[in-house]
């Protein structure tokens, strides 16, 4: 009897590969999510954003990908938990003196903590937007754009980000995401075996830019709304 894909994900190397695959998938989602939301900076009263949100909410392919996305997030978390349990078993006696900063970046050693912070942020974020949009309703009148009626997700954003502490939570979430990506982006390529003298420096450089830029653009959204730059 053969196992699934020859048991590729059952070993320590396979677990890394799995982590890399789900990680890259989640990174690709971030790019799409960020690009769509960045349309609010056009400051057109949210028309393009509302149209894009409508497309994302109704297109069958996107709706399927939404399920895949949740599977990806849950998969990534489960893999992280399995790896953490493995590693606790491998290393139960700690050093009296451990000079961690001499050999690795702090955020590479604290991926689990950063991931947990991102998960906490994600729960708040889903309750703010995804749950009302899909299930409980926005409680905001729909908006007319070019004679068509759209759910006013943009107004929902303005409402959510008018509260100071919410804005702070979102910024902290994005700082956690930035550090998580700083380690995760290049790490995914390494785990998939993609390390090359010529390309790896480029991947690392691109990864750093991506890790700062995407969370920065996300963080600017609540800030711009809270401080009244968008309306």
């Amino acid at each position: 009897m053969t196992t699934f894909l020859n048991g590729i994900f059952n070993t320590s190397v396979g677990k890394k590969i799995g982590m890399g695959i789900t990680g890259l998938f989640l990174i690709s989602f971030l790019l799409v999510h960020c690009a769509i939301n960045a349309t609010i900076f056009l400051n057109d009263g949210g028309n393009i954003f509302n149209e894009a949100a409508h497309f994302m909410g109704t297109n069958i392919f996107i709706r399927i990908m939404e399920i895949v996305l949740f599977a990806g997030i849950i998969g990534h978390i489960l893999q992280a938990m399995i790896v953490t349990i493995d590693n606790r078993k491998a290393n139960s006696v700690k050093y009296d003196v451990f000079d961690g900063k001499a050999n690795s970046k702090w955020y590479s050693r604290w991926m689990g903590l950063l991931g947990t912070l991102i998960l906490m942020f994600l729960i708040v974020h889903l309750l703010d937007f995804w749950v009302p949009a899909r299930f409980t309703g926005l409680n905001i009148p729909p908006v007319m754009i070019d004679g068509n009626e759209y759910e006013n997700m943009y107004a929902k954003m303005l409402e959510v980000f008018s509260v100071g502490w919410v804005v702070v939570v979102y910024i902290l979430g994005m700082i956690s995401l930035a550090y998580h990506l700083m380690q995760g982006f290049q790490s995914a390529f390494q785990s998939l075996g993609l390390n090359h003298k010529m390309y790896t420096p480029m991947i690392r450089m691109f990864g750093k830019i991506f890790s700062i830029l995407i969370p920065l653009i996300f963080a600017l959204m609540p800030l711009a709304i809270y401080f009244g730059y968008l309306n």
Partner: protein, 246 residues
């Protein structure tokens, strides 16, 4: 130079260990770190005390026997050297130096600073070799190997199997060691014959021996006395993917 050595003392595998401090006076700055331990041990023996047990063999940085965790780092603060090649002049006069054994569940402490690294031997036995039939010796140039391939193999074969990578890793992962061995053989035509089984067997054995999973902190690379690159781990991952899927 004067130092205080705070050393892990543990009678045997099952005993509880503890730190013991030893003040040392008039140490020559030219002494190697292990010579300082020899010096201390002679003092201990002359006083009728049990000397500190530690591993050493060649004392020229090529055998991989020495294995101390010094002030929070494998083989001490100087990059690219083993403990035997570390000199006491690398420390500040009057400094307290904390010396611990490697800490990893796959490297149990046998006594004081000596750990059992049989787990590495078991991983090697699972595939870290090439099978060669006996018979007349082959001509040395029968199999042509390019300079680049030879250099690539050499850059992996310099692993001395000391275990610093495992000791430095927060997950006690042995991936730098195992990947060095796999890369070494994978770069040479003689190794390609058994490559598929080698990577699968060695990875399986590494897991069975209880080493942790890699999380790409790259502490292993930073603390490897031979400065072996984590490129080797990526190469192992490629070998693994190829073996499993193709």
């Amino acid at each position: 130079m004067n130092f205080t050595l705070k050393v892990w003392r543990q009678k045997n595998k099952n005993a509880d260990g503890k730190f013991v401090s030893y003040p040392l006076k008039d140490i020559s700055p030219d002494m190697s770190f292990l010579e300082m331990f020899d010096f201390l041990n002679e003092e201990l023996i002359s006083k009728g005390e049990e000397p500190i047990a530690f591993d050493s063999d060649c004392r020229e940085g090529i055998c991989g026997a020495c294995s101390m965790w010094i002030n929070g780092r494998a083989h001490g603060p100087v990059p690219g050297v083993t403990t035997c090649q570390l000199h006491v002049r690398s420390f500040k006069d009057g400094e307290t130096i904390v010396v611990e054994p490697w800490r990893a569940n796959s490297f149990p402490v046998i006594k004081d600073l000596i750990v059992d690294r049989s787990s590495f031997d078991n991983v090697i036995a699972a595939g870290g070799f090439v099978s060669i039939n006996t018979g007349g010796a082959q001509d040395g140039n029968d199999i042509l190997i390019s300079k680049d391939d030879a250099a690539e193999a050499f850059s992996a074969s310099i692993c001395i199997g000391c275990g610093a990578c495992v000791a430095a890793c927060k997950n006690s992962s042995a991936m730098l060691f195992v990947s060095s061995k796999i890369s070494h053989f994978a770069s040479l035509p003689q190794g390609k014959v058994e490559a598929r089984n080698r990577v699968q067997n060695m990875v399986a054995k590494m897991d069975e021996e209880g080493f942790g999973d890699c999380s790409n902190t790259y502490a292993c690379e930073a603390q490897c006395p031979k400065e072996i690159s984590v490129e080797k781990i990526a190469k192992m991952n490629r070998e693994y993917l190829t073996a499993k899927l193709l």
